[in-house]
Assembly symmetry: C2
Homo-oligomer: 134 residues x 2
Amino acid sequence: MDPRCIPERYFNLGVGEVVVHRNAGGNVRHALRDIGIVEELFHVAELAIVHHTDCGTLAFTEDQVRGGVKARVAREHWADVDRITFGANADLVESVKGDVAWVRAHPLISDRLKQGCQGFVFDIKTGEIEKVNV
Amino acid sequence: MDPRCIPERYFNLGVGEVVVHRNAGGNVRHALRDIGIVEELFHVAELAIVHHTDCGTLAFTEDQVRGGVKARVAREHWADVDRITFGANADLVESVKGDVAWVRAHPLISDRLKQGCQGFVFDIKTGEIEKVNV
C-alpha cells in the first residue's frame, strides 16, 4: 500500500500484464478470496509475493495499533478491535518466507499456482527487487 | 486488481501521493485492517473508493466461483470454500454506494475519514473517473 511503491514497476511490467492485490504488509493471507477469483476467471500460473523495505508494518506493534484505535472508539467496540490482527512485522525476509509457505500449504490454492509462487523483497531506496530463497 | 487499472492515475497522482489498497471488486469491507493501520500511522483525511467498469466481479456469481474451487479441492475443504464470500457484483454504482455507506456507519473508522470518504467509478474505456452521488 506504500505510496512509494508501484507494483507494476517491480518486474518491468506494463498496464495489462499483471493482476495486483495490495494490502498493508503485502500479506498474502488476506488475498485468499482474490486468489480464488483469479484462479477461476483466468489461467494464472505465477504468484509473486512482494514485501518492501521500510514497510509500515515493521514500524508498529499490534498493541500500538489496537491501543490507538481503542483510544478513539467507544468501549463497546473494543472486542471488535481485539479480533483484528493488524500484522505487525519484525523481519521482512521471514515474512516473505512465511507467506510463500502459507500458499504452498493452502488446500484451496491450486498446485499450479503453488508451484509458480515465489517471494521477493523490493528495496524502496534502490528500486531493486530481490528473490527470497525459501 | 484489474490489469488495466493503475490507481495512481485515477486522480492524476504520482508516486508518493497516495496509499493504495487493491482487492477484487475494490470492496472496502476487506480493507478495515488497512484503514486502521493507516489511521494510526498517518494523518489521513480522505478515502476514495473506486470501482471500475468491466470489473471481473460483475462477470461471475458466488455459486460459479465456489463451484469452480470445489471442483479442484478435496471434499473435506468444501465447508471452507462456503465460508468465503467472493463478492459477486450486480451493479457498479450500487456497490460503490454500499461501500461508502459501510464506511460512514463503521464504528472503528474515524469521523474525519468518514467525512472524507467519497465513491467513484473509473471507466476502463475512456479513462475518466466519475464521482458517485451517495
